[in-house]
């Protein structure tokens, strides 16, 4: 079988091997704590990668992705409760609605580039959280929604989570290496120059936004099924939006797999450090952001590249296009 030129055999084998190990892992151990931690990591990986499609590949940093996560979660939960959709279909339904919602606010706001887009996303996140909190019909208001409990479902969701993370990673790879990814990098570098050589920026940006939002929605649906209880303050929370920014920054914004690595670090950090000092977590997030940006803007991936003495301008953290 011949592969498209942008798929490297090595990456494919590596990914396959990692998935295989993780897939059979739970059959070899019965550590429920580890099982739970890994499942949370999977969902973090999938969401961080989806955030990176917009924030890294296109260079449009979103501080409001919890809007899609929350909406997808509640729509999926409603789909299961009220429409009796099978679980996976409910996730997909939630994902589609979240993707459509992302387009609704994002299509106009993507005209803004760089920092201005980011501020607008803070607004989107806050507005969505407020509406979500008061919209009882969808979200159950401040008392939230409970999903029907199935015995063993939580244990089984490990494999669904693994599949979701693998899917997001494969999509990241495909997105970055295809001609679509190339066009996105060109838009990130200089949107006007890209248009001048035939790149239809608006449609491509919308496409990426939809994909990113839809994946977020699916993650939200997964989260709802996993915890079987969700409430708007948590699902739409600002902290949640920041966590994906942080995963991206720690791992390396704009890299293919960096955010996945960032998600692993983040989940560990939260589990071991922040659980002990819950009143310090915002500040710790902030200090991490400042340190990474000041000393290694490409995060862990940047450190790795440095160790191997490689220069990769394609990963440059460019922001506002064509300015100055």
């Amino acid at each position: 079988m011949s592969l498209p030129p942008w798929i490297s055999r090595r990456a494919l084998i590596g990914l396959g091997a990692a998935c295989a190990v993780l897939a059979v892992g739970p059959l070899l151990h019965d550590n429920l704590y580890l099982h739970n931690l890994l499942t949370l990591t999977f969902i973090g990986i999938a969401a961080a990668l989806a955030w990176n499609w917009l924030g890294g590949y296109l260079g449009q940093v979103s501080f409001g992705h919890a809007a899609m996560f929350g909406l997808g979660g509640f729509v999926a939960a409603r789909g299961e409760i009220s429409l009796h959709l099978p679980m996976v279909f409910a996730w997909i339904f939630g994902g589609l609605v979240a993707g459509a919602y992302a387009l609704l606010w994002g299509h106009p706001t993507l005209r803004l580039r760089g920092p201005y887009f980011s501020i607008a996303t803070i607004g989107v996140g806050e507005a969505t959280r407020l509406v979500g909190t008061y919209w009882d019909w969808l979200t159950g208001g401040s008392s939230g929604l409970s999903l029907p409990m199935h015995p063993n479902l939580k244990y089984t969701l490990y494999w669904y989570g693994l599949a979701l993370a693998a899917l997001a990673l494969a999509a990241s790879y495909a997105l970055r290496r295809s001609s679509l990814g190339l066009s996105l990098l060109a838009i990130k570098s200089d949107v006007d120059a890209a248009s001048d050589v035939g790149v239809g920026a608006v449609r491509l940006q919308d496409l990426v936004l939809f994909l990113s939002g839809a994946m977020m929605g699916v993650c939200g649906g997964f989260y709802a099924s996993y915890f079987s209880y969700i409430e708007p303050g948590d699902m739409f929370g600002f902290d949640r939006s920041i966590s994906w920014v942080l995963m991206g920054v720690i791992g390396g914004i704009g890299t293919i797999a960096g955010p996945a690595l960032g998600a692993v670090i983040f989940v560990l950090l939260r589990q071991y450090l922040i659980a002990s000092y819950p009143q310090l977590y915002l500040g710790l997030y902030g200090i991490l952001l400042v340190l990474v940006i000041l000393f290694e803007p490409l995060g862990l991936t940047g450190i790795a590249l440095r160790l191997f003495h490689r220069v990769r301008p394609d990963l440059s953290v460019t922001g506002v296009a064509g300015e100055d």
């Binding site: 066009s183 990098l185 060109a186 006007d192 890209a194 001048d196 239809g200 460019t318 064509g322």
Partner: protein, 243 residues
């Protein structure tokens, strides 16, 4: 002779200012047309309107028989009108090959192999194929101007709009650039409109020259006549006070 690009009564206002005022011009198939004028005459605005980056306030643009007025830049580029920028704008995060490839994939459709071939050929044409895996940061100004042209060529244009591609490079490089422009016309059958400050280049390359001053077209003709036209001379050297 067939007409490659035609602009009719093209105008652009910014508030009360008429940046371009009723400009009509024609580019014949296989021609190199010079668009000259003092600073602020409206050349760049004119280019932007022809290439679709700025919608005109009034007037129409035709590519051959097809009207392309008001098409956004990416559609105009796909239709065959591609511009370069006076201040070069390479994609700094892409290799030279990828710079050209971005342009080629938009025009060669979904055929990946075809796009790669087109991109490579365009780089080769501009003399950059030896450096195809390098990044633009490593290029000299002349190199970047070549890259700008290679990227435009990778779109397979019918009409190329070259904005000051010679100004700012040293004489030897200017010579090479002029040769490259002629080759683009002769070997790739592309019709060209160029703005240029370097008069010697305009005289050598262009069959026809149109002159803009304060947004108005004040003269057009063969270069030899243009440089003797008193109105053109006064536009360049400054008028005596008339009011």
């Amino acid at each position: 002779m067939a007409i490659a690009l035609r602009a009719q009564g093209l105008s652009k206002r910014f508030g009360g200012l008429k940046a371009v005022d009723e400009v009509t011009l024609q580019l014949a198939e296989g021609q190199i047309l010079g668009l000259i004028g003092p600073n602020g005459a409206g050349k760049s605005t004119c280019f932007s309107m022809l290439a679709g980056s700025t919608p005109p306030t009034a007037g129409r643009v035709f590519l051959g028989e097809t009207e392309i007025t008001g098409l956004p830049a990416f559609r105009a580029a796909r239709a065959g009108v591609v511009r370069t920028h006076q201040i070069v704008r390479p994609f700094a995060n892409l290799t030279l090959f990828e710079n050209a490839l971005v342009a080629a994939v938009q025009c060669a459709g979904r055929d990946h192999a075809g796009a790669r071939a087109l991109a490579l050929e365009a780089l080769d044409f501009a003399g950059l194929s030896a450096r195809q895996h390098q990044y633009p940061a490593g290029l000299t100004l002349a190199g970047r101007k070549r890259l700008e042209m290679a990227r435009a060529l990778a779109c397979n244009p019918r009409v190329l709009l070259l904005d000051e591609v010679i100004a700012g490079v040293n004489p030897a490089e200017a010579q090479e650039m002029a040769t490259l422009i002629l080759r683009i016309r002769d070997e790739r059958k592309v019709s060209i409109i160029m703005t240029e400050h370097v008069m010697a280049a305009v005289m050598r390359l262009c069959e026809q020259v149109v002159v803009l001053d304060a947004g108005k077209l004040i003269a057009s003709g063969v270069p030899r006549e243009i440089v003797q036209n008193p109105e053109v001379i006064s536009a360049y050297l400054g008028k005596k006070h008339e009011h």
